[in-house]
Symmetry: C2
Subunit: 199 residues, 2 copies
DNA sequence: TTTATAAGTGAAGGTAGATTCACAAAAAGG
DNA sequence: CCTTTTTGTGAATCTACCTTCACTTATAAA
């Protein structure tokens, strides 16, 4: 039927994207091999030509997510050297990324991770830790340059930084898109940046 | 076998608590009628003497959660009239509540809610909205009394307030309890309260 | 004490979904 | 053009649950 035979690298990408789309629209619980296969235009058993099992599809999705997060950090580092501006841009980029890839939080905070295999949990912890560490780096740099109050623990700041966006994202979901996350994030940034700025 | 026959009101409470325990230790995905029944000391089919189906068990759990959240608000209102102190106490109470009932965030942010029936989603939105509204009330009171900067939108403040704790809770989970949420929450409160205080 | 009702049991039916396997057919390499 | 490898297919299996039902039996009411 589907006639076309494509190379496994291409199929793997298609499968991961299909999985992320499926997750974004119906959640992790509806992530099924059959559903993914349908979206790719294959029969369920065909998925097993490209992935050993469902878990490996999820791992590939995590890899994709990790790269997108790190891309943002990298780009922000290239755009400016001002620490506060780096933070602001990272926050807005993050908001944009999540808006466009709603599957990301659903995967990262899913129970497959929370209560799944210790290896995967460790992996996601690594992704989060890595991201937070980059934020802490920016904060420390800002403290050394005297732009950010140095009496505040960089780790506290980086967690609060994530908190600027996260509850808003949840609220956005719950209100079916009624709530304007971007606007909230901007306002929250104003309050937050004033709070951490030195002098 | 189980010999004892208890009244349905008692069983319902036992079942809800068993469900919450099960969720706290193994997540929503492992919440099964069989698992709950085992913890209560019943056979799976017995659960249906007390609840119409699994969904109703979950609804009862939501009711329990809603009451605990509102209890905290109520108690904080009775403890003090100072708005900033009310916020601080609510935050610390919230942290304690979640520490002792880890199932709460798992239920509230579960996909059964996120992508489940619109009715349940609306119900949870109501719970969150109600909680945030109480926080906003406190903020507005503080602004009228000149204790909180009035140029900041109360809604922004209340969402940021939730954000003080939420990412820390996730990080706590991910690090298997290594991370000290209470300490972080206290530090974050200091930064935050300074940021919103008037003068 | 008798009896009606509420609670508890075990077997059975039903569904959804992951995974395997033997077979078919396209593509790549020679 | 022929052969090998890679992809794709459909049927079949296996598992994990939810839920129903015909029965017991404890408990409370009369």
């Amino acid at each position: 039927m589907g006639i076309e035979k494509l190379r496994t690298e291409i199929r793997r990408e298609q499968i991961v994207q299909a999985a992320l789309n499926l997750i974004a629209s119906h959640g992790m619980r509806k992530l099924s091999i059959a559903g993914v296969a349908r979206r790719v235009g294959l029969v369920p058993s065909a998925i097993y030509r490209h992935f050993k099992n469902k878990d490996e599809v999820l791992d590939a999705a995590l890899e994709f997510i990790r790269n997108r997060l790190l891309d943002n950090v990298k780009e922000v580092f290239e755009e400016t050297i001002d620490p506060l501006e780096r933070l602001r841009r990272l926050l807005m980029r993050h908001a944009k990324l999540i808006r466009e890839n709603q599957a990301i939080p659903l995967v990262i905070f899913s129970e497959e991770v929370y209560h799944g295999s210790p290896e995967r949990k460790a992996r996601v912890r690594g992704i989060m830790q890595g991201y937070l560490d980059r934020v802490s780096d920016i904060v420390r740099q800002g403290q050394q340059e005297g732009r950010i109050r140095s009496e505040i623990d960089p780790k506290t700041i980086s967690l609060m930084f994530i908190g600027l966006f996260q509850p808003a994202a949840i609220f956005w979901h719950m209100s079916d898109g009624e709530f304007d996350v971007t606007k909230h994030t901007e306002k929250a940034w104003k309050v937050f940046s004033k709070a951490i700025q030195a002098n």
